[in-house]
């Protein structure tokens, strides 16, 4: 089995009296395609914040490519090959789409090469994402859906080994969602990246990922093959059984 690229060991995040992430263990290996699901408020995004160094966990350790980065700033995670997108696109609105992708290449991306040479060029990355025509347009002028794609492009510019996607397909139509999922799988296949994907559209996600972790009230209650996980009574109880109206589920 491939080496562990990213490991969360007993990661816990407390906000005052609230425990948002509770003693989560997660190991990610090269080439894995992992989904993270859970009801609203389950701690998915907070877990991502710790995995990318944006938030320092209250307890637990984070090991990236063999180095313990617990407590280090986010740029250390990025230069170690962890790249992420944000739930609400955070593109540089005044820069062109191409400059946005080049930003990652200029910083975290400088320290490594992509597995695939073609991805060393901002225009190629944009073309791969279907954004070639937007290269010279300021990112703030793109539709929200295309800004989400551009976020993936920015992350790819950082030449990651692990790609964290936080609801990269939110607000897309069903067809667009399928296209996005195929795109993400192609990224994984062509670059050999590990991809961790948070998504609310659980059914589509389950069709594409090869492993799924379920968070509920900050705890990881399941982790494994999607088919097995979807039959897990604890998961059905916590999440899948209420999928029809997830917004009613108390966080």
């Amino acid at each position: 089995m491939a080496d562990v690229l990213l490991a969360a060991k007993g990661v816990t995040v407390r906000f005052g009296g609230l425990t948002a992430v509770d003693n989560v263990e997660l190991e990610v290996r090269a080439g894995e395609f992992i989904g993270v699901i859970g009801p609203n408020g389950a701690g998915k995004t907070t877990l991502f914040h710790t995995l990318s160094g944006v938030l320092v966990p209250s307890a637990g350790r984070l090991v990236v490519a063999g180095d313990d980065l617990t407590g280090r700033p986010a740029h250390a995670f990025a230069t170690h090959g962890v790249a992420r997108t944000f739930q609400t696109p955070r593109v540089f609105r005044d820069m062109t789409a191409e400059q946005n992708v080049r930003f990652g290449l200029e910083f975290a991306g400088r320290t490594r090469m992509h597995a695939h040479d073609a991805f060393d060029d901002a225009r190629t990355i944009l073309g791969f994402l279907g954004l070639a025509d937007a290269a010279d347009i300021p990112a703030g002028g793109l539709t929200p859906a295309r800004q989400r794609l551009l976020e993936i492009g920015m992350a790819l510019g950082a030449r990651p080994r692990v790609l964290l996607l936080d609801e990269a397909a939110a607000g897309l139509t069903h067809t667009e969602l399928e296209a996005a999922a195929q795109l993400i799988r192609r990224v994984r296949d062509e670059l050999g990246l590990a991809v961790i994907w948070i998504e609310h559209a659980v059914r589509v996600l389950m069709n594409y990922v090869e492993r799924v972790a379920v968070l509920h009230q900050g705890r990881k209650i399941a982790d494994g093959d999607p088919r097995a996980v979807s039959k897990d009574p604890a998961v059905i109880e916590a999440y899948l059984g209420e999928e029809g109206e997830p917004e009613k589920k108390a966080a």
């Binding site: 740029h75 990025a78 790249a83 910083f107 950082a158």
Partner: protein, 305 residues
């Protein structure tokens, strides 16, 4: 201006500096001293905008850096040559900015502005106390000041260097990092930018020029005391010039420092009693109707053309 390459900017700066270097032999004293003020604010505003314009920090520390530079000259001119004092003044200000930056650059907005304003006061009082306790004096008389031509040429050199360095920074990875920090600091970090280091570096670099200007200009006053050199007005004026010009550009603060200095002087001579009222009104109008600064006017014209 963005369309201009780095080489053209450097070449244009070089040519302008050579032309301006002839002024001491062409201009009468009054105009030369006005040109000196223009150059001083050009260096201060351009270097301020290099850091603050890109990152959206509002620093009022310019008067602190300026005063530190001036005091290096006041203390050192007896033993050091003028150029050495100027360089040391810049380095002292940059070192101070590095220390302070490491401590306070995580603050933003009004907190940062108030804190940097307080810095000037802090250094002023510290130096007053130091001078009183150890030298039993408040001010110092500068002896053997260099000629006004030397001062002019030195300030011109610093201003030209400031423009060149700021143009190079804007074209560099540091400039890209600073612009990214201004837009979304956390996002730049997730893309691998060491934001803390970039900010300290940018802040110190911009302080170097303010300190060097302070050290170079100090010899114009024959008598130096903390109240004169740690003048908050210099900090405010720098911010105003940069913002009126368009702090996110290089050319904006440059043009604005000339316009502003000439305008201030003209209003002061024509309306000695009302000039501050007029200047204030003009500023309010500019901020209201031209929030992008003078640079946005020029950009609009270029886009149309």
């Amino acid at each position: 201006m963005r369309a201009l390459g780095l080489r053209s900017i450097l070449a244009a700066t070089g040519v302008s500096a050579v032309v301006l270097a002839a002024m001491p032999w062409l201009l009468p004293d009054f105009w030369l001293s006005l040109a000196l003020t223009c150059l001083m604010y050009a260096a201060l505003a351009v270097s301020w905008a290099m850091f603050c314009g890109a990152t959206n920090y509002l620093s009022l520390a310019t008067s602190a850096f300026f005063g530190i530079g001036a005091y290096v000259t006041a203390w050192g001119l007896a033993t050091l040559s003028y150029p050495v004092a100027v360089i040391l003044g810049g380095l002292a200000a940059a070192a101070f900015a590095t220390l302070v930056g490491a401590a306070v650059l995580h603050l933003r907005g009004a907190y940062f502005a108030v804190l940097t304003f307080g810095l000037g006061e802090l250094v002023r009082h510290a130096i007053t106390y130091f001078e009183k306790s150890y030298f039993k004096t408040v001010g110092r008389v500068i002896q053997e000041a260099p000629s006004s031509t030397t001062v002019y040429l030195t300030v011109l050199l610093i201003a030209a260097a400031a423009v060149c360095v700021c143009a190079m920074v804007r074209a560099s990875r540091l400039g890209l990092a600073l612009a990214g920090i201004g837009a979304d600091e956390e996002r730049t970090q997730t893309l691998g930018v060491n934001a803390r280091r970039a900010k300290i570096l940018g802040f110190a670099l911009s302080a170097f020029f303010a300190g060097a200007i302070g050290a170079a200009i100090a010899v114009r006053w024959t008598y130096i005391d903390p109240t004169a050199v740690f003048n908050p007005f210099i900090g405010f004026q720098t911010v105003l010039i940069a913002m009126v010009g368009g702090a996110h550009t290089l050319i904006g603060p440059l043009v604005s420092s000339v316009v502003f200095s000439l305008l201030t002087e003209f209003l002061r001579l024509q309306f000695p009693y009302a000039f501050l009222i007029l200047l204030g009104t003009l500023l309010i109008l500019l901020v209201l109707y031209l929030p992008g600064g003078l640079a946005s006017l020029m950009q609009r014209r270029w886009v149309r053309g």
